[in-house]
């Protein structure tokens, strides 16, 4: 509950109220917004101090920092919203180093006229996501831009965490012979978003897979501390992540289409629109690369975790001076899985 209840006069109207320029001006209106919305929702010892910064002891070990901006449209979609996305996204970026995520900063750029009801829904969603991820949102910023100059709300989150000793996860560590393991079904998030876009509207029960993966990563690192690479395939899909690994490690990757888990409805939606699930965004999946000897243990650890139930070995790292990612198709032939060109657009042809 707000410590300064009463000094603002009327409480914020979260049902009918809208963001005004004053909410970003640094005065009483902004203080009220911070107090009655952000501090109330995130509620932790750092925010309650209402300083411009958060102070915490630096643990022993190596620190990790990551940042992400969120501009998704629509703001609310099946399975999540821009708020939960912004928490999970940065938590995941930190977690992909093997680090335990600790603290988040959150900046909001709000458009004048944005409904307070929607903002409250988003912030509470962020708070819930942060609690699940066991991170605290310790500091933040709010700005307001004139009507027409923002898409409702843009959120940037920055996170820090600490990496345990002996863990050296980095994209350039893949070696020929390594196993490539995917934590679950691909394309869920992208299809969930697209189903809400006008002109493409179709009905589906697909929900975004947005989730914090730090728990899964912790279980994986505990079982196999020597994991070589970890990344969560977001925009650009699995194909992009594999190409990034191939380029940074200077290797080739060969995957098998049959091994890649895809929900039937995701597959069907992609057929409708002429999209390739390999390039469709995910928000709650990861790709791991480890030695062939470690693969069975890692796979077992992943499958034991709720977010890794459908984990599967999808391919192998190869020696390839061209750094191609290739796939054996379900038909038995071969094709390349190239870098994404431009935006993935639906097609009629």
């Amino acid at each position: 509950m707000s410590q300064t209840k009463g000094i603002y006069g009327r409480r914020l109207d979260f049902r009918q109220g809208r963001i005004e320029m004053a909410h970003g001006a640094g005065g009483r209106a902004m203080a009220q917004l911070i107090d009655e919305l952000f501090v109330a929702a995130f509620d932790n010892e750092w925010l309650r101090l209402l300083n411009d910064q958060a102070r915490f002891a630096v643990r022993a070990g190596r620190m990790v920092m990551a940042t992400d901006s969120h501009v998704v449209s629509p703001l609310f979609f099946p399975g999540g919203d821009i708020g939960s996305l912004s928490v999970h996204g940065t938590v995941n970026d930190v977690a992909m180093s093997g680090a335990r995520p600790l603290y988040l900063a959150a900046s909001f750029i709000l458009e004048e006229g944005f409904p307070l009801a929607d903002l409250k829904r988003i912030v509470e969603s962020m708070a819930a996501a942060a609690r699940t991820a066991e991170v605290a949102v310790v500091t933040g910023d709010t700005k307001v831009v004139e009507r027409g100059k923002g898409d409702g709300v843009f959120i940037t989150t920055t996170g820090v965490g600490v990496v345990p000793e002996g863990v050296e996860i980095s994209a350039e560590r893949a070696q020929p012979g390594d196993a490539v393991i995917l934590s679950g079904t691909i394309g869920d998030h992208g299809v969930a978003i697209m189903s809400f876009r006008e002109n493409l509207s179709f009905e589906t029960s697909i929900r975004s897979d947005t989730a914090s993966l730090h728990g899964l990563v912790a279980a994986m690192v505990q079982k196999v501390p020597g994991i070589h690479c970890l990344r969560d395939p977001t925009r650009g899909g699995l194909a992009t992540t594999l190409n990034e690994f191939a380029r940074q490690s200077r290797v080739g990757i060969r995957i098998a289409e049959r091994a890649i888990p895809v929900q039937p409805e995701v597959s069907a939606a992609c057929e409708f629109l002429g999209l390739d699930p390999l390039y469709v965004a995910n928000e709650g999946k990861l790709v791991a690369i480890c030695t062939a000897q470690d693969a069975p243990a890692l796979l077992e650890a992943m499958r034991a975790h709720p977010l890794g139930r459908d984990a599967a070995v999808i391919g192998v790292v190869t020696e390839d001076p061209h750094q191609f990612v290739q796939m054996q198709t379900s038909l038995g032939g071969s094709r390349m899985v190239d870098w994404l060109t431009g935006e993935q657009l639906p097609r009629i042809c």
Partner: protein, 78 residues
């Protein structure tokens, strides 16, 4: 050159519209070009319009043809 997929006509709606289902994904499309399509039929859908009905008997026959070609190959030793 035309991306089209087979879909089940789930429900005829007002006018020429229908709700179709392909692999669990549902969408409203137009039956203006295949007005005789009935609920339970499969149609080929392209850019929001059904283009023709799919004949299940012919589909079975074609699959049998594939299996025949495969069986012939099998007979002679793969």
């Amino acid at each position: 050159m035309c991306l089209a997929i087979p879909a089940l006509v789930v429900k005829r709606l007002e006018g020429d519209e229908a709700l179709i289902d392909a692999g669990g994904v549902r969408k409203r499309i137009s039956l203006a070009l295949v007005p005789e399509a009935a609920e339970g039929d499969y149609v080929i859908v392209h850019v929001g319009y059904a283009l023709s009905r799919l004949d299940p008997a012919e589909a079975e026959r074609t699959l049998a043809l594939f299996a025949q070609a495969a069986a012939d190959a099998g007979e002679q030793g793969a």
